[in-house]
Symmetry: C2
Subunit: 257 residues, 2 copies
Amino acid sequence: MEHALQKDFLGQEAQYLHNVSIDNVIFGYHEKELKVLLQQPFSKNKWTVTGGYIKKTESIEQAAARIAVERTGLRNLFLKQFHCFGNPERVKDRDFDAKSLSKATGLNIDPDSWMFDYFVSVGFYTLTEFSRVAIRKSEFEADCRWWPVGSIPPMLFDHKLIISEALEALRLHIAHYPIGYELLEEKFTLPEIHSLYETILSKKLDHRNFAKKLMATGILTKLDETRKIGAHRSPFLYKFNKAQYERGLKTGVELAF
Amino acid sequence: MEHALQKDFLGQEAQYLHNVSIDNVIFGYHEKELKVLLQQPFSKNKWTVTGGYIKKTESIEQAAARIAVERTGLRNLFLKQFHCFGNPERVKDRDFDAKSLSKATGLNIDPDSWMFDYFVSVGFYTLTEFSRVAIRKSEFEADCRWWPVGSIPPMLFDHKLIISEALEALRLHIAHYPIGYELLEEKFTLPEIHSLYETILSKKLDHRNFAKKLMATGILTKLDETRKIGAHRSPFLYKFNKAQYERGLKTGVELAF
DNA sequence: CAAATAGTGTCTTTTAGACATTATTAA
DNA sequence: TTAATAATGTCTAAAAGACACTATTTG
């Protein structure tokens, strides 16, 4: 998050680590769409993923969680570290220089500012049901909103790469670990979780084989209730068997689709 | 590498990034044993993995490669980033304080030195055939040598955790990508590569099924030569089909054992 | 010719994948 | 009664895994 002129950082560099930052790719799922939360630095025409700096008193995981709370208001999000980005060129961008930043913010920004240093960024991704999120735009941003992963706007620095690596990591993760706890209601139907997997993997999955495999893992419990949908038949509701789910997160669950 | 008092760092902090370091777990394979290269900071009774700092002009991958060359003399090692470690407690250690460091090095080390800062460390691992390695001990180390992964000595900071996570990452990696190019001679026998896999995975593999699976990937080419071993039958030699091997590294090769 | 190791093939079980029909409900 | 969707089972092909014997070489 080498771009943001966050109020809580300016003038308070001392409490943060230097040369290291967090970039947190926040994925939101809603109605069969996978989106990513992006922010637009003040008066810029490029976008960035959400990010921030690490306080000297917190771990990188805590920093990532704090940043996610600051942006979305959601606590206890599933956070996964996926890659570390570090090379001197990554924060160089035609649309990021002292002159235009000074103009945009009204602050007098030194070309030798820490902001133009080379930052090693630890990439995390987060999953959430995006309708739960109350977006909190900081005053130093022009905008903050969800973008479909299939149509990402022009990105600052290497943030396009960060998103695509996050997505790749997520798709790899989904093949080895259970997913969905953060993305679905407490109770959900088989067609709902089926759509979730299809959306994230961006491919069609045979619904019969999908149900068979998923049920075989033991992470789902079928309930006696059905969902009353407007038309036609009411599908059964399921919920996650939390104990099995947690075990799956630890030991892995093979779900190659 | 938050511990080493390397000559090329002291007094030259300006050319390095702050608060970020590289820890490079160097695995060596030789005669059915997997070892890890550890160094012992000057007059300490604890060990560390090899590590170092990142120059402002280089990427983290370049830094990791440079550090590996400095330690082993080997260029073009296979380097894999596997995890990032960052929390304020990780570099606190009873055996690491200004007083004992000053005494050990003969330098006057300030308790407020950068050395005691919280460093976020990017973990890499490296593979090599350890008999090729010319260990280069720096003058600030008491010792530098290979340790079997099964019996690691007392480690400084969180380096025991770093090694075990590196090993876990390696074992995960081996199930999805070809391995061995850096660990075997150019020409090798089936029993040799079989032992390599058994050693890394730390379990017995049926040799018939192993050969079947490995040959099915197409990464091996059988040669017309045999190895003349002292007694009994001479096994055929194989080499890697580099093109297939490289493709396997990119696209993945399923080798679940 | 005996001992040690290399090399290979078959059978069984399990898993993955393709595929079609029936049941339910609301309009 | 029709249209829309949910639910379920079978068959086939492929892959994984268990397992045993023969061939070669050297002393």
